[in-house]
């Protein structure tokens, strides 16, 4: 991307259509890889280093493991990308994940309402969506800063999650449900990993090629410009928070399938991992900059780093330190690069 920008600067004085074809190619190139070159290089270097230092990292089994391990984070990060793109933040995703999974367990489990898993999943997604809608309305109608609105929702949703079973977990779901994350179809693809990939592709297309997706970039770039241009900023903002929460709820369902249980304390601190993944992927917290491709790379960097440090036998405490350093490094290099341009 840096390269294509350099050439465009050189030709800044030139107006004629001669460079048109090249410009289109450049635009498409920078649209798909917008701000992701740095993180991508980082991911490749990380994988190279781990391939050389361990003999287990670069095996199909381990790569599939990494994908399994990042599904929950990956699905949440898609929603967070939308929120951060419009210049917002959502601190409630971890709590919403817990609430949604508890609602699912409560509705579906024989010990409670026993209405079956499809009903449980539907209820979970609806409740999650409502949480997001409330956050959105707090931002658009009550004019709370997103940080505060979702901080409040983070507390409320966690409390509700605990209230459902008075803090106890719900264990044991049907085999077909838990096998969603275990059975690898075609020898490699579990349903949950497939779900994450399909969602990523859908949202990448949405953000790049749908008018509504492009409008989100405009809102993040300048909400007032977007509003004066006739973009329904408030309703899109509400939708974005609702979708982010629904994806957090979906992540809660995936987590339930992986663990064969739901508990009100799950997802603690996930909001920070999610934000970290999106930011490592090149998104700007001030809005208007970011992409699903970047977020996917951010998610993989965190996933590969955790996996690799485990393989190397590094203690979880040191892992936290390393991930912190990576976040700071990723954003710092991005800032330097932008300034250099």
């Amino acid at each position: 991307m840096a390269v294509s920008n350099d050439t465009s600067n050189l030709k800044a004085g030139e107006l004629k259509a001669g460079s048109g074809a090249q410009a289109t190619a450049g635009a498409r190139f920078s649209a798909v890889f917008a701000g992701t070159m740095g993180p991508l290089i980082g991911l490749v270097l990380l994988c190279l280093a781990l391939s050389l230092t361990t003999d287990t990292f670069l095996t199909i089994r381990n790569i599939l493991n990494v994908l399994d391990q990042v599904t929950v984070l990956g699905i949440m990060a898609i929603g967070m990308t939308l929120v951060i793109l419009i210049g917002g933040i959502d601190l409630s995703v971890g709590s919403v994940l817990a609430l949604a999974s508890m609602v699912m367990g409560f509705v579906a489990h024989p010990d409670y309402l026993n209405l079956g898993l499809p009903a449980g999943i539907a209820a979970a997604l609806v409740v999650a969506g409502l949480c997001g809608l409330v956050s959105g309305l707090l931002v658009t109608i009550t004019k709370l800063p997103p940080f505060i609105a979702t901080l409040a929702m983070m507390s409320v949703a966690r409390g509700l999650a605990n209230m459902i079973t008075d803090g106890s977990q719900i264990v044991g779901f049907p085999d077909w449900f838990t096998s969603l994350s275990i059975i690898r179809h075609f020898g490699f693809l579990s349903v949950t990993v497939g779900l994450m990939i399909v969602l990523a592709v859908i949202f990448a297309i949405f953000l790049n090629y749908r008018a509504t997706g492009r409008s989100l970039y405009a809102i993040g770039g300048s909400a007032e410009v977007a509003r004066l241009s006739g973009i329904p900023v408030k309703s899109l903002t509400n939708w974005v928070y609702a979708i982010c929460a629904v994806l957090a709820g979906l992540a809660g369902i995936v987590l339930a399938a992986r663990l064969d249980s739901v508990q009100p304390s799950s997802g603690l601190g996930y909001e920070l991992d999610t934000i970290a993944a999106v930011v490592i992927g090149g998104a700007s917290l001030s809005g208007g900059v970011g992409s699903i491709g970047g977020t996917a790379i951010g998610v993989l960097i965190i996933g590969v780093l955790r996996n690799g440090l485990n393989l190397l036998g590094v203690s979880p405490f040191i892992q936290q330190v390393v991930i912190g350093v990576v976040i700071a490094l990723a954003v710092a290099t991005d800032t330097w690069r932008r300034r250099a341009q």
Binding site: K11, L15, R210, R214, G221, V225, G230, I231, V289
Partner: protein, 502 residues
């Protein structure tokens, strides 16, 4: 406009700048700049954006270092290492964007960094008393304990001046001090400058409002491309001469000839009032091909009025009809669909997304055209952008960031965004604010073209020449009330100002 050798070398107690040069990389922004400011004198420094005015000011105020050249200040060599050193030497600068702390009190702002202390605590009594005395000297009746945020822009500027006075400044550099001021406030500022001048203070006065120069300046220095191109020993130089020197070519004409309007009434505004009473009971109509100017002082309600018509702000009563059909003004989208578009007052905050490309900026607001069934393809955006760029003569390419464009080109991008719809009513709020004199004529041509193509055009401007030069009729607002609509032949400076100040 000749250089007078007697003054450039005569030693005096003022400021003598000689041979200043400054380059950033290969770009020379200042070349051999020499001029002087005598005690008790106001020197106007004129030039387009990028002419080097800011660089000179920043060097004198200590925030930039020159590559070559010397400055003498009160007979001694002067080369400030930083703004603090300049202030210590008695030279202060009032920036266009005021550098105040909005949540601190007036007195705290005046004494920030050197708060009077007693017994290890801030001596608030002394601080407030001293600040109060300085404010009185400026003729400003404001409590020193008031928070700066609650003051009007003009009063905030006075606080900055008071701050400079308490620092014993003897030379003040004003960078576009009146850009955000109304007529009365400007007059007050001029009175203060004259008073301080009589006390022996000197001023360097940078402004884009050329009509002010004759009122306030003693001498004029004109810059272009980093060089001083003219020095005038008197300030009553014809504006046109100054403009030609700033632009570096003869200016044929500033305003285009506007053709006669058609017969169809496109915009009808009836008894429109705002909930905050920023304007009340405004009624007017604009025909196809007509340009209606809206004049008035700052705070008269001009911007509020046009924003309401464009659906950007709510109204409390009244109605707007476009081509005979009532418009339900519940948001910008409804107004745009009805054919009313607005080029807003604050280009950078409301008009363009600076970090996005020209293409993206043009696509925002036109997804109904660019994106059939909601699908946006880069090729379509590119094509759309190229058409807009060609039509308005924007100097740029579709995938170039808007932040890299000049103000005039950014403004053209905003106009290009709307022009293809095509709208019925085109509203432009301060279309040339912050745009170089040389680039303004191009914007005026564009506005005249909009009218010629059959749109009803509304132009709001603080620049009276602009309103008078462009409009078929001029609506004058004062304190939210409509004071009258003048025809082109009866609209003069005096007639408009009489209504505006009524």
């Amino acid at each position: 406009m000749s250089t007078d050798p007697r003054h450039t070398h005569s030693p005096h107690n003022g400021l003598v700048v000689s041979g200043l040069c400054k380059s950033y990389g290969p770009v020379q922004v200042l070349a051999d700049a020499s001029f002087e400011v005598r005690p008790g004198e106001v020197v106007a420094l004129l030039g387009e954006n990028g002419a080097g005015k800011s660089t000179v000011s920043n060097i004198i105020a200590g925030s930039t270092k020159p590559d070559a050249g010397t400055i003498t200040w009160r007979g001694n060599p002067y080369s400030p290492a930083n703004p603090a050193a300049a202030i210590d030497a008695g030279i202060g600068m009032i920036h266009q964007e005021l550098k105040l702390l909005p949540d601190l009190s007036v007195a705290e702002n005046v004494y920030v960094g050197r708060l009077p202390m007693r017994g290890g605590r801030i001596d608030r009594t002394a601080m407030n008393a001293r600040a109060s005395a300085q404010l009185k000297r400026l003729g400003l009746d404001v409590s020193p304990e008031r928070k700066v945020r609650t003051l009007r822009i003009a009063a905030q500027q006075q606080v900055e001046i008071a701050k400079a006075l308490t620092l014993n400044a003897e030379l003040l550099i004003f960078d576009e001090p009146t850009a955000a001021l109304g007529g009365e406030e400007t007059e007050l500022l001029f009175q203060q400058i004259r008073k301080l001048k009589a006390e022996g203070m000197s001023f360097i006065y940078i402004s884009h409002r050329l009509d002010e120069i004759a009122q306030i300046a003693d001498r004029v220095v004109v810059m272009r491309d980093g060089r001083i191109v003219a020095r005038h020993e008197r300030a009553d130089v014809p504006v046109r001469t100054v403009v030609e020197q700033m632009v570096g070519r003869s200016v044929e004409r500033m305003f285009p000839t506007v053709s006669a309007p058609g017969n169809d009434t496109l915009l009808e505004v009836e008894n429109l009032s705002s909930p905050e009473r920023s304007f009340q009971n405004v009624s007017f109509s604009v025909r196809a091909g007509e340009i209606l100017g809206i004049a008035g002082l700052i705070g008269a309600g001009r911007t509020e009025l046009v924003r309401a018509i464009a659906g950007a702000d709510p109204i409390s009563s009244g109605s707007v009809r476009v081509a005979g059909k009532p418009v339900h003004l519940n948001g910008p989208a409804a107004a745009i669909t009805a054919g009313v578009v607005l080029v807003p007052e604050d280009r950078k905050a409301q008009g363009v997304v600076l970090d996005q490309t020209i293409g993206e900026n043009l696509a925002i607001g036109n997804f109904d055209h660019v994106a059939p069934n909601g699908w946006v393809f880069p090729k379509a955006v590119q094509k759309f952008a190229e058409a807009g760029i060609r039509r308005l003569g924007v100097k740029g390419r579709p995938n170039q960031a808007v932040s890299k464009l000049s103000g005039g080109n950014q403004q053209k991008v905003i106009i290009a965004k709307w022009v293809s719809r095509p709208p019925k009513v085109f509203i432009l709020d301060e279309p040339t604010r912050g745009i170089d004199v040389g680039a303004r004529a191009a914007i005026y041509d564009v506005i005249a073209d909009l009218a010629r193509s059959g749109m009803a055009v509304v132009v709001v401007s603080s620049d009276l020449e602009e309103v008078l030069g462009l409009s078929h009729r001029v609506l004058v607002l004062s304190r939210g009330r409509q004071r009258g609509i003048l025809d082109r032949n009866e609209a003069s400076n005096v007639a408009v100002m009489e209504l505006a100040t009524s």
